[in-house]
């Protein structure tokens, strides 16, 4: 299911880049590597990641952020200690990205309702996939009149999964931060605990499902 490389296609992490000076690179490599990816979600949890605000600065002497909404790289350049994932699994590209990420993360954490149980995209799970596609593309009330009714299908498009799955039904997930989205407070609490060797502990007053 990997991206076909015999096509005229270059991913951003494959582009030539000027290497960092060796000292900066060595300092960065010595830090705890943290990454966050998004699958089938709304990127709201990533906004909560940004809501860590200036509190993140206090961690930056210990933490290097690789793939995330701050950096916009498509693959993590090397192994990560902590990987956050938002969004559920809804298509073949999600599965590929998630499996690749799992192979390269020591600790993996589901962030938000979509990652934890499917969330809003999983509302389609009570309807057969065929009916969903017909409603969206064939009998859509907003379809352009007279236009040819086509359900998109092309080798470049990821294949939709029959049901939206929570991440832990596809790969092993170590910890869960529920919420839609969880607060930046919850994410910084978890990150700070791991960075300082304390382990996962999300107290009930910080836990939320909405």
């Amino acid at each position: 299911m990997s991206h076909s490389h015999n096509k005229n296609e270059i991913l951003s992490h494959e582009l030539p880049a000027t290497p960092l000076d060796p000292k900066t690179q060595a300092e960065r490599d010595a830090k705890i590597q943290v990454a966050m990816i998004g699958l089938c979600g709304c990127w709201g949890c990533t906004l909560s990641f940004l809501d860590m605000d200036e509190r993140l600065l206090g961690l930056l002497d210990k933490v290097a952020i690789t793939r995330s909404s701050f950096t916009d790289v498509k693959r993590i350049p090397h192994r990560c200690t902590i990987g956050f994932v938002e969004g559920g699994v809804a298509n073949s590209e999600n599965i590929e990205t998630l499996e690749e990420f799992r192979e390269n993360c020591d600790i993996m954490i589901s962030v938000g309702a979509c990652a934890v149980w499917g969330g809003t995209p999983a509302m389609r799970n009570v309807v057969p996939l065929e009916e969903c596609l017909i409603e969206a593309y064939v009998d859509s009330p907003t379809a352009v009149e007279g236009a040819k009714k086509v359900i998109p299908f092309h080798e470049d498009l990821p294949i939709i999964t029959t049901k939206v799955k929570p991440l832990h039904e596809v790969v092993k997930i170590d910890y869960f931060i529920p919420g839609c989205p969880p607060d930046g407070d919850a994410i910084i609490k978890v990150l700070d605990d791991f960075v300082n060797g304390r382990g996962f502990d999300l107290p009930s007053e910080m836990n939320r499902y909405d």
């Binding site: 589901s110 309702a113 934890v116 149980w117 499917g118 969330g119 809003t120 999983a122 509302m123 799970n125 009570v126 309807v127 049901k163 929570p166 832990h168 039904e169 910890y175 869960f176 931060i177 529920p178 839609c180 999300l202 009930s204 007053e205 836990n207 939320r208 499902y209 909405d210």
Partner: protein
């Protein structure tokens, strides 16, 4: 008559005949429950209040205390995890989409999930299709969220005839909560509000009520379900 029991090794005096949930709460020990309503006959349907009584697992709301009883609530890791598993089962059995629910922040199931430290259900989420019932003019039934506690079945009745307004049809996985739309249409606004407040989840929704309280000022955000349960009792 007074009896002596122990809760998590602590010896306490209790009034004979009081059930374990009430006795524990009087002594500052919170036992989660989703069907029990203080002062009403116990239903014993949700089992979320499971504790160990002299080594056996029992639903605390169904058991009156008696002399010498040894009750384990939080001392025994197995029973703590069992209560958590019971809550997780409810979350995986129905479709509990908190972000899209009017009851969020006022929901006892959600608040109990926080109390038992549920982050995710260990059981596969089932996504069973369930049909919403809009027939009545006063309430609608969002069946995705029903946990079959039977509070509404037993405690909401037509004021004129005393007939039940809500009922459960079918058995096992085919069970569904039903409403007598004609009787429901006769409900006063106060009774509608009572029924929707009584529902521990967002299944019975008052058609006149929406997302009334802003996030951060909702019922269980102001005071947790545990604090509320203990406040009523703790002397």
């Amino acid at each position: 008559m007074s009896v002596r029991v122990t809760i998590d090794g602590q010896e306490i005096q209790a009034r004979s005949g009081d059930n374990i949930i009430d006795v524990a709460a009087q002594n500052g020990v919170y036992i989660p429950s989703l069907c029990y309503v203080k002062g009403k006959p116990c239903l014993g349907t949700c089992r979320t209040c499971s504790v160990k009584v002299d080594g056996s697992v029992m639903a605390a709301c169904t058991i009156p205390v008696r002399e010498g009883m040894e009750i384990e609530v939080n001392d025994d890791a197995e029973i703590v995890d069992m209560r958590k598993a019971l809550v997780e089962l409810l979350f995986s059995e129905g479709n509990h989409n908190c972000p899209s629910c009017e009851k969020s922040g006022r929901c006892e199931l959600q608040a109990t999930g926080y109390e038992v430290d549920m982050m995710v259900s260990r059981f596969p989420y089932r996504f069973t299709p369930r049909v919403v019932d809009h027939a009545s003019k006063t309430v609608f039934l969002q069946r995705d969220r029903c946990i079959f506690c039977q509070r509404c079945v037993d405690m909401v009745r037509d004021e004129r005839t005393g007939k039940k307004i809500f009922s459960i049809k079918g058995r096992g996985t085919h069970s569904s909560i039903e409403i007598d739309a004609e009787l429901a249409n006769e409900m006063t606004p106060q009774q509608v509000r009572h029924a929707s407040d009584l529902c521990p989840v967002g299944c019975i929704i008052d058609k006149t009520q929406g997302y009334d309280d802003p996030i951060g000022q909702r019922k269980f955000e102001i005071k947790s379900i545990k604090d509320r349960a203990l406040e009523k009792e703790h002397r």
